[in-house]
């Protein structure tokens, strides 16, 4: 007897259809799975055998061959347990599903026949909808996640007996209802928590508005992390499409909280500087999303930027340019979305006190030079906004006004974003993502402003590259002021957010 069941696997973060074919024939009892299964799939034989027995079905004492097609993609994980078990029961016990439409099954079995949740359900549901498969049987705990995708019926299954009875028409099940939205960021603060640091706050507002990458330079304890953590609170909310992308990534990485749900806040990822290359960009033989993909549509915060391994930092270059990351493996290449806003922070020198008002810096100028040398030019070139975050004395803090609430900053940013998107007609675009060729088109300057710019470049010894960055930042400031033209003030303000260019603080004793 031959039986065929539809199932799905994950390729990167996308679902891929897998046909599970089960053939039972006479011969010496055996149980073979073919079709590029990985270790977890091979082990499913033991789980399936026990689950079937413990659910009071007969496990056929025959020659069982399972094929997972197409045979050229690698199958991983335990999600095939349930479809294989159903296939075996269909082939041996003669379950004939009373369903007229095609259906898809995923789920991991436990030895007693109950069903455990799997990763990447939402991607599979999206695929299922695209392929026109209207019914999905998924583990009960994943069902509300799959139900987020409209247009397909999702049944949450608790154990093997339940699904067999349903297929036989003995019981009825109610389709699952979609999950509520969920939070992923552990910490949510508000910009009004931060006193002082007006310049840094303004710079982050501009950065959030134009999706510019930022580097913050300041001594330990000056509040760089505090500032970065609150960045998601002023970023405009995720669009529906973006939310789905983010949810897909988190689901496939197994990072969705129990019960799943759509992620509606922008992710904030802050990996430690000891992170490996695979951890940062994603990887291993079966590629999983790395930190940069988990930060997709959100913020990637790299504290102690120069302490990250060189190869890890260099690997950021391509995604910072394209917004995606392609990992090539023997079985083909996989594309992960990775359009993140990089927020880096570093100390001004190895000891951290260069420029401090009270404490003397104990680093030699050579050490300072070397510390900055750890960040390569190409990386720095991709960072539009560079600010200093000094340590504030209690005195200053007491006198400072409480900050503006995140919500009011956010509404300003939302408005300016609309202003921007009006300019860029196609898709998601922001000033920070402008190509050099677009600069001329979108950053028109009047002759008087051009001469001002020239004066600034001379005075502050800027390079051609920083000229471009200056223009981009000025463009965003103009957007915040809802001006179609870049004004003089926009340029004058923008230059204050380019501290690394100006080198005044690299010259330690100037």
């Amino acid at each position: 007897m031959l039986a065929k069941v539809l199932s799905a696997t994950l390729l990167g973060i996308e679902g891929a259809l897998v046909d599970v074919e089960v053939d039972i024939s006479n011969g010496l009892p055996s149980f073979t799975i073919v079709g590029l299964p990985d270790q977890a799939v091979q082990e499913s034989r033991e789980r399936i055998r026990s689950a079937i027995k413990n659910s009071d079905f007969n496990f056929p004492v025959k020659r069982i061959t399972v094929n997972l097609a197409p045979a050229d993609i690698k199958k991983e994980g335990p999600a095939f347990d349930l479809p294989i078990a159903i296939g075996i029961l269909m082939a041996s016990e003669g379950i004939i599903p009373r369903l007229e439409e095609p259906f898809l099954i995923v789920g991991e079995l436990s030895l007693d026949g109950s069903i455990r949740p799997v990763n990447g359900i939402i991607s599979m549901a999206i695929m299922s909808k695209e392929l026109g498969i209207p019914i999905m049987f998924v583990p009960y705990e994943n069902s509300s996640e799959a139900a987020l995708i409209p247009g397909i019926k999702v049944y949450g299954i608790k154990n093997l007996t339940e699904i067999v009875q349903y297929l036989n028409g003995n019981i009825t099940l109610a389709p699952a209802s979609p999950a509520k939205s969920i939070r992923i960021n552990e910490f949510i603060g508000d910009f009004s928590d931060i006193k002082g640091q007006e310049s840094a706050k303004r710079a982050l507002e501009i950065a959030a508005c134009g999706f510019h990458n930022v580097i913050m330079v300041g001594p330990p304890g000056s509040g760089k992390t505090m500032l970065a953590q609150r960045l998601p609170t002023i970023l405009p909310p995720l669009t529906e499409e973006e939310a789905l992308e983010v949810t897909k990534i988190y689901s496939s990485a197994g990072l969705l909280p129990k019960g799943g749900g759509i992620i509606e806040e922008r992710p904030f990822r802050a990996p430690h500087h000891s992170i490996s290359l695979a951890g940062m960009v994603g990887g291993t033989s079966n590629p999983r999303p790395g930190e940069i993909s988990l930060a997709h549509n959100g913020v990637l915060f790299l504290d102690e930027f120069p302490e990250f391994r060189r190869d890890v930092l260099e690997a950021l270059r391509q995604p910072m340019e394209d917004g995606t990351l392609v990992i090539s493996r023997a079985h083909g290449s996989i594309r992960f979305p990775a359009r993140f806003m990089l927020v880096a922070s570093m100390n001004p020198c190895p000891c951290g006190y260069l420029g401090d008002t009270k404490k003397a810096c104990t680093c030699s100028p050579y050490q300072v030079e070397r510390y900055f040398g750890k960040i390569s030019g190409p990386i720095l070139d991709r960072i539009d906004i560079q600010i200093e975050v000094p340590r504030l004395e209690t005195d200053t803090l007491i006198k400072s006004n409480p900050g503006e609430k995140s919500e009011s900053i956010r509404s300003r940013i939302k408005k300016a974003r609309e202003f921007q998107s009006y300019r860029f007609k196609e898709g998601f675009r922001a000033n920070g993502l402008m190509l050099p060729s677009e600069l001329k088109k979108y950053c028109k300057l009047t002759p008087s402003i051009e001469s001002l710019l020239r004066e600034i470049v001379d005075r502050f010894h800027l390079s051609a590259r920083s000229y471009d960055k200056l223009l981009k930042v000025a463009r965003t400031i103009a957007d915040l002021g809802e001006s179609e033209l870049i004004r003089e003030e926009d340029i004058l303000e923008a230059i204050q957010y380019r501290v690394l260019d100006r080198k005044y603080w690299e010259k330690k004793f100037s």
């Binding site: 303004r202 420029g355 008002t357 003397a360 810096c361 104990t362 004395e393 200053t396 400072s400 957010y497």
Partner: protein, 348 residues
């Protein structure tokens, strides 16, 4: 030819390091050969020293390094008076400055902002009034002092703890070039060419720093620092020591405050030193720049270097406006940024 032999003799004498004896013998008008013979060197040592001296001579010709023996008119007069003046000075750069009016400015290699500001204030005032700066060409206060002297259009002498052909510290490469190329100063050393920075060189070269000038100003120094050694030499040599007073809780000011307790004259401005030279300080013509009302607000707040957040709090401006005004003032060359989001007026 006679000149060459003469210089090589002096190179040889310099290599012996017996400065006190040489000074004594020279004052009795002995010739170089006589001095060499009086020093009673063993024959082998003598011939090896001579060989080395000849090499030094050749090398200095190649590198364009001037050799100034103590008997020369070009040798700094004040330096000749100390108990152990080097028998010969290696000079890289413009030597005409060697006998001009100088004061020595010394201090820690790890200055605080206060030390840097104080150095700049004092040095710029001295330079405006035609006084050159001697310092040790090390990190920190030394570098600030030399840089400020050159930038202010003054002249300066760097006394090295290495051979003059060695670039040390490496990060001062640009400063080294500035001093030499601008012809506004020179680097000098008693150490043979190619001598590396050995730790014992530095205390030794400090006696030259203090020896070159009538006054040594200590800007910032902890109790055990090279600057304190220089101050000690200055007193030994009968020169004057000035010190910049500092906070009593700052380690970098413990040395200077100690000096003041012991009788050093406290310095609070460059004018205190000018007085000593009997120079009537030039009156600073106060530039009243053309400022808009808002610019004037910031300018007036900046009567001392201040943190950006403090200026914001005082002025009550919003950050965007504030940054625009700051850039305008920067473009006018009136203010400048310091590390740590500090701002200050440029004319000190």
């Amino acid at each position: 030819m006679g000149e060459e032999v003469f210089i090589i003799d002096w190179l040889l004498l310099n290599l012996t390091g017996k400065y006190r004896a040489i000074k004594e013998l020279l004052s009795r008008n002995y010739s170089t050969e006589e001095i060499i013979s009086f020093l009673g060197l063993e024959r082998e040592r003598l011939s090896s020293l001579r060989k080395r001296a000849e090499q030094e001579y050749k090398k200095s010709l190649e590198l364009g390094i001037e050799l100034i023996p103590i008997s020369s008119d070009e040798y700094p007069v004040l330096l000749r008076e100390i108990p152990d003046p080097p028998a010969l000075l290696y000079v890289l750069g413009e030597k005409v400055w060697l006998n001009c009016n100088f004061i020595s400015v010394v201090g820690t290699r790890r200055p605080t902002r206060y030390g840097i500001t104080a150095t700049r204030m004092i040095v710029s005032r001295l330079v405006e009034n035609g006084i050159g700066i001697v310092s040790g060409f090390a990190y920190g206060i030394d570098t600030v002092a030399h840089t400020e002297a050159i930038n202010g259009g003054g002249y300066t002498i760097g006394v090295l703890g290495t051979g003059v052909d060695i670039v040390y510290p490496k990060v001062n490469k640009a400063l080294r070039r500035d001093i030499i190329e601008s012809k506004r100063g020179c680097l000098i050393s008693e150490f043979p060419l190619g001598d590396n920075p050995e730790s014992w060189h530095f205390p030794r070269r400090n006696r030259i720093i203090s020896g070159l000038t009538q006054i040594t100003v200590v800007i910032e120094a902890s109790l055990k620092s090279g600057a304190m050694i220089t101050a000690g030499y200055a007193l030994e040599q009968g020169r004057e020591v000035f010190a910049v007073p500092g906070n009593i809780d700052s380690e970098n000011s413990q040395g200077t405050n100690q000096l003041i307790k012991e009788g050093a004259k406290p310095v609070t401005s460059g004018d205190d030193i000018l007085e000593e030279f009997n120079i009537i300080p030039k009156i600073n013509t106060v530039r009243l720049p053309e400022l808009t009302e808002e610019e004037a607000v910031i300018w007036n707040i900046l009567n001392e270097p201040r943190l950006e957040d403090d200026i914001l709090n005082i002025s009550g401006l919003d950050i965007s406006k504030f940054n625009i005004i700051i850039t305008r003032l920067e473009l006018k060359g009136l203010i400048e940024r310091l590390p740590g989001r500090m701002l200050r007026r440029r004319d000190g």
